[in-house]
């Protein structure tokens, strides 16, 4: 056989000029990847690791930042047009029902062969899967094959904070009340419990872990509204009467900023918290008086012993319109890898891997990581997987806020909310 000696220099020249040497099996490097992200603290860690990615892989990533409501609108508009506007995106987990049922995202498992990692909490995969692996499934979605469309980047989950210099870690709501009673003194002022009670999403983020821990549910497995129950009324009575008596005056209008301020100025001893509020305010020495004084733990258990931490992950995904899907997937693998999660966390990101959240050194630096791990590991509670969630939240959020303000009794609030939610679900075609 005659030797084709000239073939090797030709291949070498082709490879070098095509720029395809980055990794085996990858298409040519794109000039850049465009990523839609929410404006705010959620992208702090992402911004910290991007220079590493660009150095290692030689592909630039352009972050296009939008405020929370605008991001959703921009994504929906781009998806409806199947436009190649974005190669990557981060999405709030309640958006998955819309994105999943519309088929706007690239499945990571069936397209690229993504394999699950034991270092990642199962709830992370559940959040990114469609149809949902548990609970009611929207009409018309049950027959679809379940695929993984997204993986968490920001492991947001709601847990509990308390002044460890004043009270002990509460395990149950009874412990929370006992702690509150012990320290509550408005004359100082020091309040036993601070509530994020503003109408709509704020009060529902706060009330849902209480509602679920009392054993109540909003929907059964057929989307019938089962909110109007003794457990729900008990949960709201506990929230709007018992907890409120230990709260600062005016919490009916408190959002996250007011809550964090009350804690950071040493005026409140206990409350729910999301990770970004800890790094930005509560444990930030330039604005907080309570650095090192706070303890963090799982959301307290209700009368039946159930903990119900609320998920609020931000998920990384690839839109179907992207022209650089393979490289976008490469970025997802890289950004969510165990190797990168550490610099991601140190750069201000909110990680989600067990190996990082349970690492002793990381826990010294970030005292809330253990509580995050426990919350992600608890039996998963999420907002019902329906596109109608925002309407449900608006209805329930109005009545829970009214109950908190004393404008409706807990019974009235639950009854009215259940009736209005059922009427909305009927109109949305969930049943007649």
């Amino acid at each position: 056989m005659r030797r084709r000696w000239w073939i090797w220099p030709v291949i070498a020249v082709l490879l070098v000029t095509s720029g395809a040497l980055a990794a085996p099996g990858l298409p040519a490097k794109p000039a850049k990847l465009t990523m839609a992200v929410v404006a705010g603290g959620e992208t702090k860690g992402l911004k910290a690791i991007l220079p590493l990615w660009e150095k290692e892989m030689g592909v630039k990533i352009d972050l296009v930042e939008f405020p929370y409501p605008t991001l959703y609108e921009k994504l929906v508009t781009a998806f409806q047009a199947n436009a190649p506007t974005f190669d990557l995106l981060i999405a709030d987990d309640p958006w998955m029902p819309k994105f999943g049922s519309e088929g706007w995202l690239v499945p990571l498992d069936s397209t690229f062969g993504y394999r699950r990692d034991a270092d990642i909490f199962p709830v992370v995969y559940d959040l990114g899967s469609w149809p949902p692996p548990r609970g009611p499934i929207p009409p018309g979605e049950a027959g679809k094959p379940r695929r993984l469309y997204a993986i968490t980047l920001v492991g947001n989950v709601e847990f509990f904070m308390y002044r460890k210099d004043l009270v002990s870690a509460p395990r149950t709501w009874d412990d929370v009340v006992a702690n509150a009673r012990k320290v509550h003194d408005p004359r100082k002022p020091l309040y036993g419990f601070v509530i994020r009670g503003a109408k709509g999403n704020p009060v529902i983020s706060e009330f849902t872990p209480v509602l679920l821990s009392f054993g109540a549910r909003i929907f059964d497995n057929n989307w019938r509204v089962v909110l109007n129950s003794k457990q729900a009324v008990d949960a709201l009575t506990f929230f709007a009467k018992t907890l409120k008596q230990y709260a600062p005056p005016g919490v009916e209008n408190y959002d996250a900023a007011e809550r964090a301020r009350e804690v950071a100025t040493g005026r409140a001893a206990q409350g729910f918290i999301w990770p970004a509020e800890i790094t930005d305010i509560v444990e930030n020495p330039s604005v907080s008086k309570v650095v090192g004084k706070m303890g963090y733990t799982l959301a307290p258990a209700g009368p039946g012993g159930k903990h119900a931490p609320l998920m609020g992950n931000w998920l990384l995904a690839i839109p179907k319109g992207s022209r650089n899907q393979r490289w976008a997937y490469e970025f997802i693998l890289w950004a969510t890898s165990a190797r990168i999660q550490q610099p991601y966390a140190l750069g201000g990101g909110i990680p989600f891997r067990k190996s990082v959240l349970m690492n002793a050194e990381m826990n010294k630096k970030f005292p809330f990581f253990r509580a995050m791990a426990d919350s992600l590991n608890a039996p998963a509670e999420w907002r019902p997987r329906t596109q109608e969630w925002f309407a449900v939240e608006a209805i329930l959020g109005t009545h829970v806020n009214a109950a908190l303000a004393g404008l409706e009794t807990p019974e009235e609030a639950i009854t009215k909310a259940a009736r209005e939610i059922e009427s909305h679900m009927k109109e949305a075609g969930y049943y007649r």
Binding site: P69, N253, F390
Partner: protein, 277 residues
């Protein structure tokens, strides 16, 4: 028609016609549903609650803004003669008007917060209890959102009335004073006729503005507590962007358009008569 007119027509007409079309359809299926979305409004207690809240807001804001703006204009007109003092007042009164409504809402939030808010601190310093939960009760929350509107737009009424007062002939005023007219008579018989058409104009502008108020309310109360400050525009936003029921939202927005246009037509007719006289 000239191209600019066509362009303007397209920019105004297309969204309006699309909105009308949406109001008569089911936005999910696209099927024609007749007046269903309008009829639904009449069976919707939340719609009537928002209408009632809007009526209270519009009445309170207009009454205070026009009453106070006119009174201040008269006061400054009659008592302050110095040019630089008047200029300083103009400048001070322009600041609220150029403040973005969202910023005004944020500032008001800091003022009305019961624990560390400025207002309760001032009330405590003056010897009061200073423990009012301004944004937690329906009546005080309504007061708070109206107060922001008054702070922002009473200066507009002041500036228009003050400009109107400059057009009152000085000899007519002097003659009235020589004839022994008091302050009230001077206003009623000499100054008011010069201001009436301007006041109608102010009423038209302020009515349409207050009827569709949105930004500062969303920031300050979010429509709460409960639904006590959920005005039509806030309710409409909720229907469109929380419930995503675009057809019902389109029907409600047409209702807002019809009411605002009717008010505009009625007040415009009065204005026409005033100008003709």
């Amino acid at each position: 028609m000239t191209p600019p007119v066509l362009l303007l027509g397209a920019l105004v007409a297309y969204p309006l016609l699309y909105n009308v079309s949406l109001a008569f359809r089911n936005y999910r299926t696209g099927e024609f549903v007749g007046v269903h979305n309008f009829a639904r409004a009449f069976a919707d207690p939340a719609f009537f609650a928002s209408l009632r809240a809007t009526a209270i807001y519009v009445t309170a804001a207009l009454a205070v803004e026009i009453g106070l703006g006119l009174a201040l204009a008269l006061l400054v007109h009659r008592t302050i003669r110095s040019g630089w003092a008047r200029t300083l007042i103009y400048l001070l009164f322009i600041v609220p008007m150029v403040t973005p409504p969202v910023a005004a809402g944020v500032i008001a939030r800091l003022i009305y917060t019961p624990t560390y808010g400025v207002l309760n601190a001032v009330l405590r310093a003056l010897g009061g209890a200073g423990d009012t939960l301004w944004l937690s009760r329906g009546d005080t929350a309504m007061f708070a959102v109206v107060s922001v509107d008054v702070w922002q737009w009473m200066p507009f009424v002041f500036l228009v009335c003050f400009a109107g007062l400059q057009s009152v002939p000085q000899d007519a005023v002097e003659a009235a004073l020589v004839d022994g007219a008091g302050g009230w008579q001077l206003f009623r018989l000499i100054e008011f006729p010069y201001l009436s058409s301007l006041l109608l104009l102010v009423l038209i502008f302020r009515f349409t503005d207050t009827f569709r108020v949105f930004d500062h309310v969303l920031v300050l109360t979010g429509g709460g507590p409960g639904a006590t400050t959920e005005f039509l525009s806030v309710y409409l936003y909720r229907i469109a962007f929380k419930f995503f029921n675009l057809s019902y939202a389109a029907a409600l927005s047409l209702f807002v358009l019809i009411v605002a246009s009717a008010a505009f037509a009625v007040l415009g007719r009065f204005l026409g008569r005033e100008v003709a006289q």
